[in-house]
């Protein structure tokens, strides 16, 4: 495969079987989004959001501002560096050092928000900064229709083409872009496909929300395409991340383990013959946690208050 630059190499990720983890009588496939140029699914939406924004003029004399727990920021930082667009990221202080380091290396400016408010806190800080200063342009992955569109016409299209017999799709819920976009494409292909959301255990770690009005539901999330939704405890996510590595040789991030855990549960409880689980990023940013080989208690200790989604 030949591409003229890394931005053009985004997408068209491998869909690979997980024969050792698939329950008997079922087929289970993983969409390896860690194979994107910066190592996560977010390359897809970063490219689409920036391309769409460029349609109304060059962005080099603006400053892009984005709240992100990591991967979206890293994807935007790579693209903005290649295009010469200034970028600032608001990120909870509770994310791993690897994520901050990646942003620094690509040349993005990082603003830290309160760790105990998770990504909700980062969104509020970024909204306030954008409101106070017109130099900022916030593409806002939580409200930008380019986010689900990148998945509807990219990720979802690839899955339907490569595995038309799919009857279940499982992915993590962060902005809702993956589930909304892929879900729409899959339901058009076959309305009987079950779309399942895997939700991080926010309550385990995000303890700083002062009231329920601090809750947040992304505007782009279309819950009508989601059929079932499960929350995943941290330790279950760690164990599944390790199983992916040890049993299938797939080196993935912790939210990928969470999605796998939910996929295995949903295959059994809801029923499926051919399931695709989307693995949002690779394992590199989580190497220091030991999650790929250590037991769950040890990983929990290593991770401390860090958020992993």
């Amino acid at each position: 495969m030949l591409f003229e630059d890394p931005i053009a190499a985004i997408g068209e990720t491998p869909l690979v079987g997980l024969p050792h983890l698939a329950p008997e009588g079922t087929r289970l496939y993983a969409k390896l989004e860690g194979q994107n140029p910066t190592g996560s699914v977010k390359d897809r939406i970063a490219r689409q959001m920036i391309f769409d924004a460029e349609k109304s003029g060059p962005l080099t004399d603006r400053i892009l501002l984005e709240p992100s727990s990591g991967n979206t920021g890293i994807s935007m930082a790579m693209i903005c560096r290649l295009k010469g667009i200034p970028l600032e990221i608001v990120m909870p202080e509770s994310v791993s050092a690897e994520r901050r380091r990646m942003l620094d290396m690509y040349g993005a400016t990082v603003h830290l928000s309160a760790g105990d408010q998770g990504t909700n806190g980062a969104i509020r800080v970024a909204q306030q900064m954008a409101q106070d200063n017109p130099k900022y342009l916030m593409l806002n992955q939580y409200e930008n229709l380019a986010n689900p569109a990148a998945h509807e016409f990219g990720t979802g299209e690839e899955i339907v083409r490569d595995l038309p017999e799919i009857d279940m799709f499982v992915a993590g819920l962060g902005t809702g872009g993956t589930l909304t976009g892929v879900g729409r494409r899959l339901k058009r292909h076959n309305p009987n496909i079950t779309v399942v959301a895997a939700e991080p255990p926010a309550g385990d770690l995000v303890q700083g929300l002062r009231s329920l009005d601090d809750g947040y539901i992304p505007a782009i999330l279309d819950s009508t395409v989601i059929d079932r939704k499960f929350i995943v405890g941290s330790k279950d996510a760690f164990r599944a991340t390790r199983a992916l590595f040890e049993q299938e040789g797939v080196f993935a991030g912790i939210s990928s383990g969470a999605a796998l855990h939910v996929a295995l549960r949903a295959i059994r409880s809801v029923g499926a013959k051919c399931c695709v689980v989307l693995l949002a990023d690779g394992g590199w940013k989580y190497l220091s946690t030991g999650v790929h080989t250590a037991d769950a208690d040890e990983v929990e200790k290593n991770l401390g208050d860090q958020i992993w989604w």
Binding site: G118, T119, E199, Q207, G215, K229, F230, I231
Partner: protein, 91 residues
């Protein structure tokens, strides 16, 4: 029927600081009625006037979001665990 209802940090000031409350009932609605009987502020924090869940509240029965099951009418059984959590974002 006895079901454990886990209370998020943000709501514990309305449950005398309890992180977990044992409640009885055959559905989420009956459980919450039982909890609200003991902690009156709990009802307005979790449910709207229409008796449905507050928008920013997610409720899970054995880790599954009840909005995608039968909502407040989702059945629960003895020994089940129900968790209440605020909606949060990722990305």
């Amino acid at each position: 029927m006895s079901v454990e209802v886990k209370i998020p940090t943000v709501l514990r000031k309305h449950t005398d600081g309890e992180a977990s409350v044992t409640a009885s009932g055959g559905t989420i609605r009956e459980l919450f009625d039982d909890v609200a009987g003991r902690f009156p502020e709990f009802r307005e924090k979790v449910m709207g006037d229409d008796g449905e869940l507050h928008r920013f509240i997610n409720v899970y029965a054995n880790d599954e979001d009840v909005r995608y099951l039968q909502g407040m009418d989702t059945a629960v059984a003895d020994g089940d665990v129900v968790a209440i959590l605020p909606a949060v974002a990722g990305g």
